[in-house]
Each structure stands twice: as C-alpha cells, then as structure tokens.
C-alpha cells in the first residue's frame, strides 16, 4: 500500500481515495456556494429599492428557485459529505470508506446533475421558476419546459445522496477500529450516522414526488391536479415528508462539527456526550412527524393542526439540550478564540436565535401571520447560514491544517469571520422586521414601507459575499504553503485524526489503531 496518488487529471477521475473524494466534494460545494451566492446577490440587488430595476419578475423567480436548489443540494449537502469523506474514516480508525468505487461514482455524477440544472437558465422559457419547494400545479401544468431537466437532475442528486449515505452507514458500522464502540465514536460520526439514515429514508420520497410530477406533465396522470381527481395538497404532504428531515440533514452534521470544536478550544471535555447522542436521535425521529408545520395554512382539519403544532414544539426540547450542553462545555473551560472557535460560538448564538423564531413559527395561530413572509426567510437563513455554512466553515478551518499540513492565516481567518458575522446579521436580521410588518416572501418588488430594511439587507448581503472571497484566498494560500502545522495542530484535541501526521498521508490506518 505504499503507492501515492497518480499524477494528472486521471488521479481525480479514477480516484477511490476518501481524501481525494472528500476534497473534490468540498471544492465542488464551494463552487456551488459561489454560484448560488451570486444568484442571491441578484435577488438582493433587485430588492435594494422598490420598483423593478435590474431583473424582471420572471427572471427573479428563476433566481429564487435556483438559489434555493443550488444552496441546498449543491452547497450544503455536498460540503457535509465532503467532510464526512475526509473525517469519518480518520475518526473511526478506518483505512478508507467501505465502498470506495461507489464513492467515486456518487461524487462524479453530481457535476453532471448541476451542469444540467444550470443549463436550464439558457433554455427557452427559462429555468425552473416555481420556488425550491416547487409546489404543484405551478411546477406541473404551469411550469416552463425546463422542468423535465430539473426533475432529471433531482433524480441524479438523489441517487448521489443515497449512495453517499449507504457508504457512510457501511463505513461506520463495519470499519471501526478495535475498541471503538458506538458510544465512543466522536459526535461528528454519530450525527452523520443518523443523518445517513435520514437520507436513505427520505431521498426516495423526493424521487417519488418528482416522478409523480413527471407523470403528470408527460404521461397524463393527475396526481396533483384536482380536475383529474388528484390533489395539489398531496404534493405538499409528500414534498415536506422529504423536506423536513432534509432540513435536519443539513443541520445534524453541523452539531457534530461544533461538538468537536468547542471542547478543543475550551480545553474541557464535551458536556453530556450521551445526552447529545440521544438528543440527535430524538431530533431525527421527530423530524418525521412534523412535516405539515410547513403547511399550516392549507386548511388541514384542526386535529391535524394541533398534532403538528405540538410535535413541532417538542423539537425545542432536544435542541435546547444541545445548546445547554455546548454552553456548559464552555463554562469553566480555558478558552481561546481561534477562527474555528469563533465560527462555532457564532453558530451556537445565531442558531439559537433561529431556533427561537422556529419555536414562534411552530405556534399555528401565530404562524398564520408569519407564514410565507420574510419572517420565515429570516428564520431559515438564521438556521442555515450560521447553522450549516458557519459550521462547515469552522470545520474547514479546524481540519485544514491536518489536511494540508499548513496553518491557515489566523488574521485573515478572523477578518473572514467578522465580515461574515456582520454581513450575515445585517442581511438577515432586518428580514424579521419586514416579515412581521407584512412583507410576503418571493416577491420581486414591494410596498414602500419595507424599503429601508430591504436596503440595509442588500448592503449586508454584498458584505457577506465579499467575506467568502477572503475565505477562498485564505484556503488557497494554506494549500500552497504556510507555517507548518504540528501533528496535533491544536492544544491536546481529542480524536484519532490528530494521531496521524500533518498533512495526513494518502493512506491512513492501514493497520487499525487500538482504542482504549
């Protein structure tokens, strides 16, 4: 096993190495993050002032739709899979993923899926314009012709996710080093194990719902058309049965990353490890029985409303446990504030704010006023940007020295953090206000009373965008060189990944370590 990577492009095309594949996932997701981010900037630029200035409503709707799809399926999910590829084998003392060829395949179909999705922008009738939630019949009878390409690309993304998830489950369950019992696994491994099960459970549901759309559009069925005996609300039930676990797919691995970083920089073991595991499992379970809280205004019977309201409120309990655990881990620690820690602390604070607005949204009668307003936009950006994006960023800074063998530039990291932190809050905090004041989401133009906060939000968005350039620059510099990192990188961090040299050799743990 002494051989290293092949030279040239074929290394990346044929690779079955978990580290190579992890890197490809991460770079791909960053490219998608920039693409989706540019679309967000088009949206924010249009919303800078009332009136139509930059784009027309048709194109605006394509931007909101593509921004959502690309960020969810192209940026956040592949980034977490990339981190899992890099870190799960190294954290459990395995030489590689359990199914390395499938690993290659699940990555390499993604660029094709997104190339196809992006190509719809240039098709007659334009890209999908029905929102990332693609409610029927707007996405079936009334959709642009490109919807068929959208359906096909969703199928490919789903196949990629399912293969990735199966691989992670197989790796974690079969390839742990001797002595690495389930309850000794790092939380990142635990959260990914649970996430992988969620993926396997719901990606087929997404595939099902887009296939039903395909049948309605091309083969004369009427799943979602009332005129043919179908039901448009059925679409929403099926979609959100996928969609709600999906939002936890985008946050559970984040919990794992933050649970690794906070103890390191607090120099104190994670508080309540087993309650963290149980809380993650409870959140995953609850995610399957709360989907209709996205649909409080569709006119469900009151018993349904009450059930989904109560179940949704319950999620606050395990989520609260997690937040309390992180805070208690910090309490009486010996803290330093390097870039990964800054991003993790911002994660805890801002994710909690997003959790509060989530709790408010769970209250069905109040939701009637919040639903489909900017308050919802503020809520889910507060859980996704500081939640998923900040944790991924924290993870990259935390593990980058291990991957490259070089320390990143700490000053630049801090500049990145503060630009992103300020930019994000300036962008999304005012959205709570305009939402409560009555601004619906997904509109290209708005009434005058919303102008001031929208202007502020647009300025913040461009600052947040600029912060990512600093990040890119910092990462490239670190890959190319810089101060050498020690094998431990940080002060006494916990985990097997720190027991291998920096940079991590192409093959690690060819003979399993023994965990006591």
């Amino acid at each position: 096993m002494a051989h290293g990577p092949k030279p040239g492009f074929t290394r990346w095309l044929y690779t079955t190495n978990h580290k190579d594949i992890g890197s490809m996932y991460l770079w791909f997701s960053f490219a998608m993050f920039l693409l989706g981010g540019c679309m967000a900037l088009v949206i924010r630029a249009e919303l800078f002032q009332p009136g139509l200035q930059i784009v027309q409503p048709e194109f605006f709707n394509q931007m909101t739709t593509m921004h959502g799809l690309i960020m969810v399926f192209g940026a956040v999910m592949p980034a977490f899979v990339g981190l899992a590829n890099w870190m799960v084998p190294m954290m459990i003392g395995a030489p590689d993923m359990a199914l390395p060829r499938m690993n290659n395949w699940s990555f390499w179909i993604l660029p094709f899926a997104f190339a196809m999705l992006a190509s719809t922008l240039f098709m007659e009738g334009g890209a999908p314009n029905f929102g990332w939630t693609f409610y029927a019949p707007l996405s079936t009878e009334y959709a642009p012709p490109s919807v068929t390409f959208f359906i096909f690309s969703i199928h490919i993304m789903g196949a990629s996710s399912i293969m990735g998830a199966i691989n992670i489950v197989a790796t974690i369950l079969n390839m742990r080093a001797p002595g690495m019992t389930l309850m000794k696994m790092p939380l990142f491994v635990w959260t990914w194990l649970i996430t992988a099960y969620l993926l396997i459970a719901v990606m087929p549901v997404l595939a099902g719902v887009v296939t039903m759309m395909l049948m309605d559009i091309h083969f004369g069925t009427s799943f979602f058309s009332a005129a043919g005996g179908g039901d448009p609300v059925l679409f929403q039930h099926v979609f959100w049965f996928f969609g709600h676990p999906e939002v936890y797919i985008m946050i559970l691995p984040a919990f794992g990353i933050v649970s690794a970083i906070i103890p390191t920089f607090a120099r104190k073991p994670l508080f309540g490890y087993s309650s963290m595991v149980y809380a993650t499992a409870s959140i995953a379970f609850l995610s399957f029985i709360v989907w209709a809280h996205h649909m409080f205004t569709v006119g469900m019977p009151i018993a349904g409303e009450l059930f989904f309201m109560y179940a949704t409120m319950l999620i606050a309990v395990p989520t609260g446990v997690k937040v309390f655990n992180w805070v208690t881990t910090m309490f009486r620690g010996s803290m330093t504030f390097e870039t990964p820690m800054l991003f993790s602390i911002a994660f805890v604070i801002l994710f909690t704010l997003g959790g509060f607005s989530g709790l408010m949204l769970a209250i069905a009668p109040a939701d009637f006023q919040y639903h489909d307003t900017y308050f919802v936009v503020a809520h889910f950006h507060y859980v996704l940007v500081p939640g998923a994006i900040f944790s991924i960023t924290a993870g990259v800074y935390y593990w980058l020295p291990k991957w490259t063998g070089n320390m990143y530039n700490e000053t630049m990291g801090k500049v990145h953090f503060w630009m992103a932190f300020v930019g994000l809050n300036v962008t999304f905090f005012p959205m709570h206000f305009v939402g409560l004041a009555g601004m619906p989401r997904r509109i290209p133009d708005y009434a005058l009373q919303f102008a001031d906060f929208n202007q502020i939000a647009s300025v913040g968005a461009f600052l947040f965008g600029a912060a990512q350039i600093v990040f890119l620059f910092n990462v490239i510099r670190t890959v190319k060189g810089g101060k050498k990192a020690t094998d431990e990188v940080w002060e006494n961090p916990e985990g097997l990944e720190w027991s291998v040299p920096s940079p991590a050799p192409y093959h690690t743990f060819s003979t399993p370590p023994v965990v006591r």
Binding site: E58, L138, K268, I363, P365, F368, P440, L448
Partner: protein, 386 residues
Amino acid sequence: MLMGLKRLFAFLTLSVLAPGAFAQQAAEKAQEGVERWGVNMTQGVTEVSRTTYDLHMLIFWICVAIGVVVFSVMFYSMWRHRKSKGYKAAQFHESTLVELAWTIVPTLILVGMAIPATKTLYDIYDTKEADLDIMITGYQWKWKYDYLGSDVSFFSNLSTPASQINNQQPKTENYLLEVDEPMVVPTNKKIRFLITANDVIHAWWVPELAVKKDAIPGFVNESWTRIEEPGIYRGQCAELCGKDHGFMPIVVKAVPEDEYHSWLSERAEQAALIKELTNKTFTFDELYERGKKVYNSSCAACHQPNGQGVPGAFPAIAGSKIATGGMDSHLSMVVNGSPSNPAMQAFGAQLNEVDLAAVITYQRNAFGNNMGDTVQPIDILNFKNK
C-alpha cells in the same frame, strides 16, 4: 440575461454612490407619509388578530427570557474563563440532575405556550353561523370576489400603473397595495370567506384581519373575520403563484352596515346594466377605447402593454396568427382559453360580454394588427351559447 447583467453592473457602480442615494431616497419617501421602519406584527382590527398578536408577543418574551439566561452564562464564561486570563479548565462532563432539569423545565414552558395557542386555534377554526359569505377565487394574478346570495361578483386587479413599477413616475403612498375594485364588507358582522383558486395555489392574506388561507384549485377552504373598525385594510397574495405573484394585492374596505347595503344594491344595478348593454351595438371607437382598458388590466401582465409578449413564455398579440386570423378562433382562444397552454386562461367566465367584445376588437386593431373588423357583445353571447 445579458441585459440583467448590464443592469447589475450599473447597480454595482451605483452602490458605490450609495450614501447619496440613501439620503435622496429618504427625502423622497418622507413626503409620501408611508409608515416606515415597522418592526412588529400589526395588532389588527379584529378580536382574532389581537389574540394572535398577544400570543406572538407572549412567545417572543419567553424566548427573550430564555435567551437572556443562556447567553448570560455563555458571555460570562467567555469573559471570565479564558486561557489568556490564566483560567484553568475544570474537567466535569456530566450531571444527570442538571440534564434532567433542562429537559423537564423547557417541556413545562412549552405546555404553558400550547394552552393559549390551542384556544386561539379553536377560535380561528370556528366558521359557523356567519352573517355573510364571500367566495374568494385566486387567479393568475388577480382576485375574484363573489358575494354569495346576490348577483354581485367582480375581479380585483392591481391598480398601480406600470410606469410607477418601472420607475418612470414617482411611487405613491399605496404602491403595489392598491386595486381597482376593493372588497367591500360591513363592520361588526361575521363574514365567512370561502377560498379557492382557478389555476395555481394562491393565499389570501390581510395582516390586520389575521386571515391567511391558501386558495387551492379544486378545493374550498374556509376562514372568517369580524371587523370592528371601519377602514381600508391591505394585504397581498402569500403563496408563490408565478410571474406576478408580487402584483396581486388585496384591499378590504370595511364600512358601516347601511353603507354596505347601499353599495351592494348599486353593484347589483350595475350588473343588470351590463346585461342590458349586451344587446347594444357599439361603434368601433367605443369598443377600441373600452378594449384598451380591459386589455391593460386583464391581458397586459403576460402579453405586455405593447402586445409584444415575452419570448419563450407568453406569445405576442402583435401580428399573431390568432389576432390576425379568423374571428372564431380568436373568440375561442379568449373565451375558452388555450387547449394546450393552461397559462392562457378562459376569460369567458371572467369578463362580461361587453368587455370581451371590446378587448377582442382592440387586439385585432391595435399593435399594428389593423384588421379593421369589430365584434359586438351579442356575438360573444351567441358564441358562448353555441
């Protein structure tokens, strides 16, 4: 898209000069008397809207209280327990008692929230014993109001002129929140709304009434309100419904009961008048002028005010095969809609015969089509009855 990029570039250049633009815009808006910097939900004008507001504030303050406790502990330790201050880390990592406490206490708080929420929900769902029923139908991109039990039925379209939207004219106070025909309702009566849609899903939302309900094609949802204060209450569609989702506002005008009844009988008379006009023969100019108005409120959103359409999405009227072809196929397209493209709605049920005759005449003669023919309301009626 290229055009979009060009404009984006112009915007970026502009945003460098932003501070000036800010001040100028602020001055512009101050004159218009728009209520700016609103940060909270409206208390509204109904019992339900006030209860909802109270519930919202209750949860908000509970969240604030929890946040203060959690973040105080966090900021305290970030301040005191730093390595740079020489603080040595403790090594504790679990405590069953503490962990049980912070599972049970939040559960109890949640129960405390759920009780008033459940009560309010029951109230909102009680649509029984209404004094008045109004059927609301969402169309791309307008609302139709049918006053059940009377002949009164009309469409409510955005009345903000395109010139304001395209920044050729200054925007007025109710920009994008004004319609040609508001829904008129009596105060202090229980009004039941029966909400549905004709094409895609819409949602009917008026914040001050705390009514938001999806309008779903093929299904009828119910909601209700009882407005205490006369006034004009504005809302918008709250479910993405296509291109002009942002341009289909709702205006509810609440008036005292006697005023409502006189309005209703006036509207009923107008409906009777239109029926009479169906038998009248109009001149070309009368039809053309009326047709232009109808075109701008019913057709221009897709086919554009200049009749050029939107390439790839909405066909042009100017020089189109239908508008410059046989009269029957033109009538069929407008009255019955397109058999292949659902975006072209059946206007037969949406417009009266006079307006249909006018708009078809207009389409055949405007935008350089110059067919020189007219169609009379009675022809439309005969076509419909064929």
